[in-house]
């Protein structure tokens, strides 16, 4: 099965619930970097309480990626700054994911 790289850019405040959602849906790992940015919900810089963004990456099978995207869409898109995109990737040791 294809392996996908799912990237989510969203509010720092969501870090813990997001991780829970990703792991509950069946992904086996994730990577987070701190970020800042601008989108429909305005400027989000990192130099203040809850102000910054995180950039979460998950490598997983395609169906899991879709399930995570659905779950996030359902729960958070209405009320939170969030952007989500998916790419196909070639992964070493693909069975790990």
């Amino acid at each position: 099965m294809k392996r996908m790289l799912l990237t989510v850019i969203t509010e720092q405040a969501l870090e813990r619930p997001l991780i829970r959602c990703v792991l509950d849906t069946g992904a086996r790992g994730y990577t987070i970097t701190d970020a800042r940015g601008l989108g429909h919900r305005g400027l989000r810089t990192a130099d203040f309480e809850q102000g910054g963004n995180i950039r979460l990456e998950v490598i997983c099978e395609e169906d899991i990626a879709r399930k995570i995207a659905d779950a996030l869409h359902h729960r958070y898109f209405q009320d939170f700054a969030m952007v989500l995109f998916i790419q196909e990737v070639e992964v070493l040791r693909a069975h790990k994911f």
Binding site: P17, G42, A46, D47, F48, E49, Q50, D79, F80
Partner: protein, 318 residues
């Protein structure tokens, strides 16, 4: 006019630099460190004083302060709903911010009293901890009723385990248990350096306030008026409860300032997750870019001036 405390100049410097888009930023890590040190310093100092105070007198004061937090939240909510018809969630979120308190503003008020050598109840830091909580809980209840979406467990976690409550309360307990003598070796860092650390913190707050300033216009005149007007109401409420609690003039100023100030540490974090449909920009802009500067520059000396005249035992302007 009373001269500004120089610590305010640092805020103005940051604000000016930010508004002029100067090439200067203090990294997030610095802000975190300063906040931790400030919260601990205030807590420890309060705890040391608490260790020497009469607990029988203080416990009822703490209860009065809880009521004050709820009253402030309700008043703010009423104003926002009636005068403007803001959506329920937004009104509740802003009310939670204004019913809660700003530790930075409190620190400036303490510096103000220290400079003037005015007596105040040293354990007032306990009021700060207490006031962090009730308005936030109220704000959540006003939107979610008595059954929050993710259950009370998660709400209480947000409210009681935020950085503000944990470090203030932790500091209080440490100061209380250790007492003045054992805290002495920590004084150079937590007390002597306090005003310098507060200065850097205010410089940073100035930069942050400037970066938020652009959004004020977007949110309209009403929010601006609220953010400028409510502090006066809050200060009056604080003064009243201080009188009920039998505080000194200095203590009354601190409670008035707490009433006038709006939270930007505990409330934003808790409301974001508990009432996500509220626009976080509204409350943060109001409390940070308008109310904080107003209190720090105009409010504190103003409340002190008025209390000096009106407060029983105030004894007129010195």
């Amino acid at each position: 006019m009373q001269q500004l405390d120089p610590v305010i100049f640092f805020f103005l410097l940051g604000l000016g630099a930010g508004l002029l888009r100067a090439e200067m930023r203090l990294p997030a890590a610095v802000y975190e460190l300063l906040t931790v040190v400030l919260l601990l310093s205030i807590g420890i100092k309060g705890g040391v004083e608490l260790a020497e105070a009469d607990l029988l007198r203080i416990v009822p004061q703490l209860a009065i302060v809880v009521v004050m937090g709820l009253a402030l939240g309700l008043i703010a909510f009423g104003i926002l709903r009636l005068a403007r018809g803001l959506p329920r969630a937004d009104a509740a979120a802003i009310a939670a911010h204004y019913g809660s308190v700003s530790v930075g503003t409190y620190a400036v008020a303490v510096a103000f009293l220290d400079t003037r050598q005015v007596f105040y109840e040293g354990y007032a830091a306990a009021f700060v901890v207490i006031l962090e909580v009730p308005a936030i809980l109220l704000g959540i209840v006003l939107v979610r009723g008595l059954r929050p979406t993710h259950g009370w467990g998660s709400v209480l976690h947000e409210v009681f385990l935020g950085k503000g409550v944990v470090l203030l309360l932790g500091g209080l307990l440490i100061g209380l248990v250790a007492g003045a003598d054992q805290i002495a070796p920590f004084e150079p860092f937590f007390f002597d350096a306090f005003k310098g650390i507060l200065a850097i913190f205010l410089l940073d707050m100035g930069l942050v306030a400037a970066s938020q300033a652009g959004t004020i216009r977007k949110h309209g005149v009403f929010l601006l008026l609220f953010a400028l007007g409510f502090p006066m109401v809050g200060a009056a409420v604080g003064g009243f409860f201080a009188w009920m609690a039998g505080l000194s003039l200095g203590g009354a100023l601190l409670l008035a300032v707490l009433g006038a100030s709006a939270s930007y540490i505990a409330a934003p974090a808790a409301m974001r997750l508990s009432v996500p449909e509220a626009n976080p920009g509204l409350s943060l802009t109001a409390s940070l870019a308008v109310t904080f500067p107003f209190n720090v520059i105009v409010g504190i000396p103003l409340y002190y001036g008025v209390l000096s005249i009106l407060y029983p035992g105030g004894g007129g302007l010195s």
